[in-house]
C-alpha cells in the first residue's frame, strides 16, 4: 500500500496506526539482510502511532497522520543516533530535529528509524557506509544505488511506505531508478536544509523516495516551504501538490536531451525510456529533440564543486566538540589528523583531498573558478531549453543496478554513474525519476527535469505516467 492509501485506510477506520506501524516494524525485523536501516526506533514509532491514532479519533490530522516513514540518517533527529553513515558520527546523538523531521512529525507521520546511506552522502552505490553496504531488494548481489540507498531499499522492500532522502548529484533519483521507486528532488532552496548534515551546500537538497507520485506530492507538500533557520531556503508559497496531480499531458512540450542517448547508455534502459516517451506522446504531449552541448561537462564540473564544498563543510569534524576523537592524541595537530583519518572512510578522504587541492592557492582559478564558469554554461543550456519546452526527459541512469563491489576500486567509473542526474543539481532544478521498465528483472527509471519551482508540473507528469502504467506497482519478488 502507498502512503496515501494507508492514510485513507486510517481515516476510514480500516486499521489503526499502531497496527500499521507494528506491521512495518515486523517487516524491518525480517529484512535485516538488506542492511537498509542504521537505527530502528520501535519505541518512538509506537509512541508516534499512539498519538496519531488519538488525533485521527478526534477527526484531526491530515492525509499523512499515522502513516509510518523512515528518515535518511543524514537528518538530525532529537535524541536519536544521527551518523551520516560515518564512523566519525557513530556516537553522535543529535540534540535537535532537522526542519524536515520536525515538519513530518507535526503532520503526524510515524518515524520507524534511520536509514543507511553512503558516508556523508558521498557515493552512488551505498558501499561507502561505515555500517556496510545496502543490498538491492530486487537482487541481493546488486547495489541499491546511493547515496540514499537505505531509504530506497527500505521503500522498495516495503519496510516503510515512504522515506526521506537527499540529492546532491543524483542521490535520490539514482537509487529511486535502481530500486523501482519514484525519487523526487525538489528545486534547490525549496526544502530547508536546517539539521541536514551538509555535504555540498550549493547542491544539497532534501526530497522523497516513494511508491508513487501521489505520495511524493503529499510528503513534499509537508517538507517544503520557507524556513528562517536556513538562509538559502526560498520564500515561495508551497502549492497543494496533490490537488494539481490531475493535469492533462495534452500539449505538454517535452524536450528530449540528445546528449543523454549517446554512448554508454545500456540498450535495454534506452529502449525502456524511448517507450516511455512514446507513452507521453500517446497522451497528447509533443516531443522535440534538444541539445544541451555543455551538459557532458557536468560530471567533471561536479567533481570540482562538490569536493571543494565538502572539504570546507567537513572541516567542522575536528574531534573537539562532537564526533570521533582518536585515542591518546600527542598534540592538537595529531588529534585533528588522527581523529579525521580514523573517522572518515576512503571515499570521504579522497573527496576532502580533491577539494583541498582544487581550492588551494595557485590552482583555485584553474579548477574551482573554471568549474563555476562551466556551471554557468550548463545553467544557460538548461535555461535556453526551458524557453522552448516545459520539461526535459531522458534516462535517470546509464544502466540498471550493478553488482556490489563492481566499481568500488575505480572512482571515475563510479562517478560516471551520475552522468544524467548531476546537471539538475548544478542548475538547482527539480527532477524526478519514475519507474519505466525492467531490464533482466531490474528496474530502470525515466527522469523528468523541470524549470525552477516546477514541482507541480513534474508531479503531474509522473502521476499521469503512473495512471497509464504499472511499473511503479511492481514489487521485488522476494518482498512481494
Amino acid at each position: 500500500m502507498t502512503a496515501a492509501e494507508i492514510g485513507r485506510g486510517l481515516r476510514a477506520g480500516k486499521f489503526t496506526s499502531i497496527e500499521v506501524t507494528r506491521h512495518f516494524l515486523e517487516r524491518i525485523d525480517r529484512a535485516g539482510q538488506l542492511n537498509a536501516f542504521i537505527t530502528v526506533t520501535p519505541e518512538r514509532a509506537m509512541q508516534d502511532a499512539k498519538r496519531a491514532d488519538a488525533r485521527i479519533a478526534h477527526g484531526e490530522g491530515g492525509p499523512l497522520t499515522g502513516v509510518p516513514m523512515a528518515h535518511k540518517d543524514i537528518f538530525c533527529t532529537d535524541g536519536v543516533l544521527t551518523s551520516a553513515g560515518s564512523r566519525m558520527l557513530s556516537n553522535f546523538v543529535a540534540p535537535y530535529d532537522a526542519t524536515v523531521v520536525e515538519r513530518l512529525a507535526a503532520a503526524g507521520m510515524v518515524m520507524l528509524g534511520k536509514t543507511n546511506m553512503d558516508e556523508f552522502a558521498m557515493g552512488s552505490s551505498n558501499e561507502t557506509s561505515w555500517y556496510g553496504p545496502v543490498r538491492n531488494p530486487w537482487d541481493g548481489t546488486k547495489v541499491p544505488g546511493g547515496s540514499s540507498g537505505g531509504s530506497a531499499a527500505a521503500v522498495a522492500a516495503r519496510l516503510a511506505p515512504v522515506a526521506t532522502g537527499t540529492d546532491t548529484g543524483g542521490s535520490i533519483r539514482q537509487p529511486g531508478a535502481l530500486t523501482g521507486l519514484t525519487g523526487f528532488k525538489p528545486t534547490y532552496g525549496r526544502v530547508s536544509r536546517y539539521g541536514m548534515i551538509a555535504f555540498a551546500s550549493s547542491l544539497d537538497q532534501a526530497g522523497v523516495l516513494s511508491q508513487s507520485a501521489e505520495d511524493a506530492a503529499l510528503v513534499l507538500a509537508v517538507m517544503a516551504g520557507h524556513d528562517p533557520r536556513d538562509s538559502t531556503s526560498v520564500d515561495v508559497a508551497v502549492p497543494d501538490y496533490a490537488a494539481g496531480l490531475g493535469v492533462s499531458m495534452n500539449g505538454l512540450r517535452i524536450g528530449v536531451i540528445r546528449e543523454f542517448f549517446g554512448e554508454g547508455l545500456e540498450e535495454g534502459t534506452g529502449r525502456a525510456v524511448r517507450t516511455a516517451l512514446e507513452g507521453f506522446k500517446a497522451m497528447g504531449a509533443t516531443i522535440v529533440e534538444l541539445s544541451l552541448p555543455n551538459l557532458p561537462l557536468s560530471v567533471p564540473t561536479y567533481y570540482v564543486v562538490a569536493p571543494a564544498e565538502c572539504s570546507s563543510n567537513l572541516s567542522r569534524f575536528d574531534g573537539v566538540r562532537f564526533g570521533h576523537r582518536c585515542p591518546e592524541p600527542r598534540d592538537l595537530l595529531d588529534m585533528y589528523r588522527r581523529s579525521r583519518g580514523e573517522g572518515f572512510g576512503a571515499e570521504v578522504k579522497r573527496r576532502i583531498m580533491t577539494g583541498t587541492y582544487v581550492l588551494s592557492a595557485g590552482y583555485y582559478d584553474a579548477y574551482y573558478l573554471k568549474a563555476q564558469k562551466v556551471r554557468s554554461l550548463i545553467n544557460a543550456d538548461f535555461r535556453k531549453a526551458f524557453s522552448e519546452v516545459d520539461v526535459l526527459m531522458g534516462p535517470t541512469t546509464p544502466t540498471p543496478a550493478f553488482a556490489i563491489g563492481a566499481k568500488v576500486d575505480d572512482p571515475i567509473t563510479m562517478y560516471l554513474n551520475d552522468i544524467y542526474t548531476i546537471g539538475a543539481n548544478l542548475a538547482g532544478l527539480p527532477a524526478v525519476s519514475v519507474p519505466c521498465g525492467l531490464v533482466d528483472g531490474l528496474p530502470v527509471g525515466l527522469q523528468i527535469i523541470g524549470p525552477h519551482f516546477a514541482e507541480q508540473r513534474l508531479l503531474a507528469a509522473a502521476h499521469a505516467w503512473q495512471l497509464e502504467t504499472e511499473w511503479h506497482r511492481k514489487l521485488p519478488p522476494l518482498f512481494a
Binding site: 567533481y303 589528523r337 579525521r340
Partner: protein, 113 residues
C-alpha cells in the same frame, strides 16, 4: 597562502596527465588535516591523479567572459534577521556529544607548553 605550484613543481596544462607523487599526497593530507598511512599514500596518489586528469577536461571549455556561478538561484538575496537572541542555553546538552569537557569547557590536548 600556500602555493601548490611550488609543491607540485608543474602546473597542469589542458589535457595533461596529472601525476601526483606520494609527497604531493602527504602535503594535501597535511593541509586537509588527515592522517594517511604509508600503505594508503600510493593508492591515493593513483586515484587522485586520475580524478584530477578527469576534471582537467574542463580546461578546454570556452569560458571567456562567462560569470562564475556559485549558487543555483540567481537574484536570491541572503535573508537577514533581526539581531536578537533566539536560542536558549543548550550547553550541557550539546556538550553531551563532546569527547572531553570540564567545567563547561571543551578540552583539547595542551597547546602551549
Amino acid at each position: 597562502m600556500y602555493d601548490f605550484r611550488q609543491v607540485f613543481g608543474i602546473f597542469p596544462t589542458p589535457g595533461a596527465i596529472v601525476t601526483l607523487t606520494r609527497r604531493d599526497v602527504e602535503a594535501i593530507a597535511l593541509l586537509a588535516r588527515l592522517e594517511i598511512t604509508e600503505e594508503e599514500l600510493p593508492v591515493y596518489a593513483g586515484s587522485l591523479s586520475r580524478i584530477l586528469g578527469f576534471i582537467d577536461q574542463l580546461a578546454a571549455a570556452a569560458t571567456e567572459g562567462v560569470e562564475p556561478m556559485a549558487h543555483p538561484l540567481e537574484n536570491q538575496v541572503q535573508a537577514l534577521r533581526d539581531d536578537v537572541v533566539t536560542e536558549s542555553d543548550h550547553r550541557d546538552r550539546y556538550q553531551g556529544n563532546a569527547p572531553d569537557v570540564g567545567a563547561g569547557l571543551y578540552l583539547v590536548p595542551k597547546v602551549i607548553e
